[in-house]
Symmetry: C2
Subunit: 319 residues, 2 copies
Amino acid sequence: MTLGEFDIIARYFAGHDRGRDVLLGVGDDAAVLDVRAGHKLVVAMDTIVAGVHFPAETAPEHIGYRALAVNLSDLAAMGAEPAWMTLSLSLPQPEEAWLSGFAAGLFELAERHEVVLVGGDIVRGPLVATVQVAGWVEADAWLTRSGAKPGDMLMVSGVPGEAAAGLAVIRNAISDREAAPLRERFLRPQPRVSLGRRLRTIAHAAMDVSDGLIGDLEKLCTASGCSARLDVERLPRSAPMRKLFDERTCLEYALTGGDDYELIFAVPPERVATLTNGADAGVPLTVIGRFVEGQGVQCLRDGRPWRLERSGYDHFAAG
Amino acid sequence: MTLGEFDIIARYFAGHDRGRDVLLGVGDDAAVLDVRAGHKLVVAMDTIVAGVHFPAETAPEHIGYRALAVNLSDLAAMGAEPAWMTLSLSLPQPEEAWLSGFAAGLFELAERHEVVLVGGDIVRGPLVATVQVAGWVEADAWLTRSGAKPGDMLMVSGVPGEAAAGLAVIRNAISDREAAPLRERFLRPQPRVSLGRRLRTIAHAAMDVSDGLIGDLEKLCTASGCSARLDVERLPRSAPMRKLFDERTCLEYALTGGDDYELIFAVPPERVATLTNGADAGVPLTVIGRFVEGQGVQCLRDGRPWRLERSGYDHFAAG
């Protein structure tokens, strides 16, 4: 059967637009949103392309989930509370099973974070999904990349590198028992929204890690006008990674692998305990270094300068 | 030379983010926007794909312009004042001439309407451009599709059909003197932002015409729970169209051709004079019918029921 654009919207994407900010949702020329007193609006927009950001054969549930997850990760890095999104979906043909799966993955994550879908566009074309997500942050403070100060501790959430390991597991069809959690880490990144909300008044700076830890940390350092010393041996270790990959590969994934969607952040030393007390047990928060005067990132291993050859991912430079 | 993602942003898309609402623009994980007291936020998101929404060989200036124009048209239909946008651009390879042209077209229109670019994403992939535009509307009233009432006059801005004629001119490489203004109408649609602002307190309903006059009018009627009688002979006539196309084709373009980005709107009879007095001389506003009880659209020609076979464009149904 042939599904038209308006059938697709009605069947798969309408009806998820009831939320506290929504004055007019899906179905008109545009959506109308109320604004929250005492808050500022935070907006992020990210696009994922089949064969570039995920293997072309990825299940539609994971694609729908990812399209939102990568955006929520950006809001998390600002300390914002997600509120609503718009979706643009370009797809070659409207297959019901695919659309149903995509919508299931998208709304699974949306409902977890109480994000409503207020509008967007569905067009015929190559498989490309763009989400713009908007959230609210208290007017007195939000996180940026540019607030890190010499003396701050460099911290990271989760276990960087597991997503890159998960992608390798998928590409090489590794089926060991240890492969499953890694695959999950790539396919279902967990945007650190509640962590970002806590960091808002504790951290000096934050950024999400999507293109590799070192490369993204370099950007944070540039924005903050300081340098970071990263103690490689303090990186959190992943048991499944160590089982499946040699140490060199584990380090490369941890330092340069993309798609982690963890947060790196700068915390004054006296606030580290406040942060780690009462933290979500499922999301380790690890001090992996310190911000210092200067510029760029210096890796140390057991106190000595140490270097990894590869650098972070750039969509075009890598192509 | 190889341009990276961040070089592209820095060179072509940064530096257009200074505006009254912008607290934090391009370059962090997300943008932070101030909200306007006494206003509501209006957001629209539209995507254009090479070979679907414009001929693949279209000059990049026109593509950049169009990516924003189709979105501004949606804001116009709500009576909103445009403020800021985010851009997602997927492109096969970063050619400097192409990027420079795209940015020139985008920012030409953005500056005309004082829209700033606060964020977005640039990725490698097939040529797809998505813009989300946001604007403000006074908290007491905005336009929708759903407010038309029996007795209201049905009006249209501009000359519907000229964009479809322009596309035919391009596809058939027609080079007559009359072809130039039509080509321009397709390549450079004029979003009716200032008209929308005037309509906000005058019209009962409005909608932008992007998929063909009859098809879009049907949607407006459905949303408003009434019917419209369209007097075909009252449609504004286009001298260049009549020179290049026979009468049947002119009517088909006017009633079903896409890409006009004009507004249709419902105005109580006693307000028509208020509206047309002092209107922009370059944008004709024409009464082409009337809203009545019932449902659907009925075309009349010299007072008698009349029918055109073709119906409006649907991306998937047409594919």
